[in-house]
């Protein structure tokens, strides 16, 4: 069985008396360590698919297996546990908590897991350093640029050592240069730890970072395209590169 397997997935919304098919009949397999992009226009159902893969929404019909678990069948508590252990999220609007410092924001998934504060802070700081924000651990989101905020978001997604990262338009609010930085960072970290990255976007540029591009139109997968990623990090030099990039920026 593939790492992620989606079978006969359907999602129907009711709008008054009308049924709206957000997803019609999705079958999809994604393997471990793959960078997979779900590409579609607004309203194509790509976000719905991501939400269901992440267990944020229940499908009307069908199964979603992640790492052997059918998350469509989990109850709320088990889903929370599943998210703690398997998933990381990167959002378009970062979704950081404004009152918390970068350190506290990144530490949240560990806090929910019940990791003691001392260990948590150690791991969180290491992760902040890995995304090049070690100096900014005490800063609040409002004191950081969009790119920096998204790096905090990435650190938060990776800190709990998940198996799969979900990224919903992660660069939607960023300029071209920062987009490149953020995408490289994210892909690089996934490659390094052999994590699966599921990327939802309408941007072809972004899709270029993926191994495979899943085209989705009106709730149906129209084609799956193999792709040669535009950016492949060099082995073992990644840490230095991150630092360099940070230095250039400052």
């Amino acid at each position: 069985m593939a790492f992620i397997e989606v079978r006969n997935l359907r999602k129907v919304y009711r709008l008054g008396n009308e049924k709206v098919y957000a997803l019609k009949n999705i079958d999809l397999e994604i393997s471990k360590g793959e960078v997979c992009c779900i590409l579609g226009t607004s309203g194509s159902g790509k976000s719905t698919l991501l939400n269901m893969l992440a267990g944020l929404e229940k499908p009307t019909r069908g199964d979603i297996f992640i790492n052997g678990t059918n998350i469509a069948k989990l109850n709320e508590k088990k889903l929370a546990r599943f998210r703690q252990e398997n998933t990381g999220f990167v959002f378009q609007s970062y979704n950081l908590i404004p009152q918390l410092t970068a350190l506290e924001n990144v530490g949240m998934p560990l806090m929910f897991k019940g990791v003691p504060k001392r260990i948590r802070n150690k791991r969180t700081l290491a992760m902040l350093k890995a995304v090049g924000l070690g100096e900014r651990m005490k800063h609040r989101p409002s004191q950081m640029s969009g790119g920096q905020q998204q790096r905090v978001g990435i650190a938060r997604a990776f800190v709990a050592k998940p198996n799969v990262i979900f990224a919903d338009e992660p660069t939607g609010n960023l300029d071209t240069k920062t987009t490149e930085d953020v995408m490289s960072l994210m892909v690089e970290m996934c490659r390094k730890h052999n994590l699966t990255l599921i990327l939802v976007t309408h941007d072809l540029e972004i899709a270029g970072y993926a191994d495979r591009i899943v085209h989705i139109i009106d709730g149906e997968i129209t084609s799956i395209e193999e792709n040669t990623p535009v950016y492949i990090p060099e082995e073992k030099t990644t840490d230095n590169e991150t630092k360099e990039r940070e230095d250039n920026k400052e």
Binding site: A80, F89, I97, F112
Partner: protein
């Protein structure tokens, strides 16, 4: 999530909206203040009542008198005899039963001094078990309580009784003394200072009288030579001042001797004049009294009066407490309101927490903690302020209840806050907070993560 993390999160949330938190806490402060002060007034009133009753008599005592109002003839009346005493001793919570046997004043002549110069014309003479004397809360003003070896030879005087001795060698006013306070603060002296004196009990012959109409003594063998051991201090029930106490067995002997001397037939045996029952606790007095009355005796106790008065006080307290409770209810509603507002503000945060894998149970606990903490904080501040209010009231209104009841009490505080009331207030305020937080917490838990994080 660790408890410490949840606590920290909830403190941070409360701190984030300091002003609003403070206002909500103030509501609880007012509510808990009102409740604490009202209850403390109630406790003060009860204390004053008990103080008043205690000054009127022993609260744990029940007195049973050997008479009945029902108009029943002597045959129908339940005899107050040894069997009855035993039955009373068997009642639950009874500490001791003290029968009293009165020796009629006409049966004996009490005399003292050389050649029986001083005689007592009249006295209430009671036979009691001296070993139970301390249970009756009697204490010595002069001399010492009779010891076991001398029970049968001892005679104990009420503090007015020494003045009942008359000088037979004098006439008119000069033959009497009165207890009166002298200008130097001491009291006038009676003819006989009974402690340590020999006191003679002569059994009277009811058929022979002297010139003044006093009975004459029955002759050799019909006298008892006793020693005055004690003058009793005034007791709370005012039972002793005009009484003389001898051992109960001696009293029985005297009555039997008298009956033999004067040919009185007694077929019923000894019938006690009065029985005093001491109950182990104030709160059990009513139940014991009921049982005794069911046995057919006439009984009276201070507890009965206390119960009635407590009933009235209870109604007053209920009204006051009810008013106070309303303010606490308002505070509870304001906690709920604050929490709901807070949830609206934090919808996105809650959504993010859910997406990142926070258990909904933890979210619920954080919100309950916040509400509970508002309650607890209000409770703590309310308690402190209540102490202040209580102190001011005691300063201004000291002794108000006592003077209302027309007595002086040692503890004249009108508001009393015992430690249990403080603990109760804190627990209660916290519970109010938790209950108020219940609905908002459930709302927080139901927030859809997806809605909350949806891109704006």
């Amino acid at each position: 999530m660790k408890i410490s993390d949840m606590l920290k999160m909830c403190l941070r949330n409360l701190w984030r909206r300091k002003g609003r938190t403070l206002l909500t806490v103030t509501g609880v402060v007012i509510g808990s203040c009102a409740v604490i002060v009202m209850i403390s007034l109630g406790i003060g009133m009860n204390k004053a009542l008990d103080g008043m009753l205690a000054s009127m008599g022993d609260l744990t005592a029940i007195n049973i008198y050997n008479f009945n109002y029902g108009g029943a003839s002597d045959e129908e009346k339940t005899p107050l005899d040894d069997a009855a005493v035993e039955a009373m001793e068997a009642i639950e919570n009874v500490t001791c039963v003290i029968p009293k046997l009165q020796v009629d004043s006409s049966m004996v002549t009490i005399a003292a001094g050389k050649n029986d110069r001083y005689k007592m014309s009249w006295a209430d003479i009671y036979g009691v078990d001296f070993s139970l004397f301390d249970k009756m809360n009697y204490s010595a003003e002069q001399g010492e309580m009779p010891t076991e070896a001398m029970y049968k030879d001892a005679v104990v005087f009420g503090n007015e009784m020494a003045y009942q001795f008359r000088d037979t060698k004098k006439k008119g006013q000069n033959s009497y003394t009165w207890k009166q306070e002298l200008p130097d603060g001491t009291f006038s002296k009676p003819f006989v200072e009974p402690v340590g004196e020999t006191i003679m009990f002569y059994i009277n012959n009811s058929k022979k009288t002297d010139d003044e109409g006093n009975f004459l003594y029955g002759g050799r063998g019909y006298e008892h030579k006793l020693t005055g051991t004690t003058i009793l201090a005034m007791d709370p029930n005012w039972e002793t001042p005009y009484s003389i106490f001898i051992d109960i067995d001696l009293a029985k002997d005297i009555i039997n001797d008298y009956n033999r001397l004067n040919g009185v037939r007694n077929t019923k045996g000894i019938d006690y004049t009065q029985v005093k029952i001491i109950v182990n606790d104030l709160d059990n007095v009513a139940a014991v009294q009921e049982e005794i009355e069911a046995m057919g005796f006439t009984a009276s106790s201070m507890a009965q009066i206390r119960e009635e008065m407590q009933g009235y006080l209870g109604i007053i307290q209920l009204v006051l407490g009810g008013l106070a409770a309303i303010s606490l209810l308002v505070a509870a509603i304001s906690i709920t309101n604050t929490m709901i507002m807070s949830i609206y503000e934090r919808t996105k945060e809650i959504g993010i927490m859910k997406v990142l894998g926070c258990f909904i149970g933890n979210i619920r606990i954080v919100f309950l903690m916040e509400a509970g903490l508002i309650g607890l904080l209000g409770g703590i501040m309310g308690t402190l302020i209540s102490y202040g209010i209580s102190a001011v009231m005691n300063m201004l209104g000291s002794g108000v209840f006592a003077s209302m009841m027309g007595i002086a009490v040692e503890d004249s505080r009108i508001s009393i806050i015992p430690i249990w009331l403080v603990l109760l207030a804190l627990v209660f305020a916290t519970i109010i907070g938790l209950i108020s937080g219940f609905y908002p917490a459930n709302r927080a838990v139901k927030i859809s993560a997806l809605e909350a994080i949806r891109n704006e």
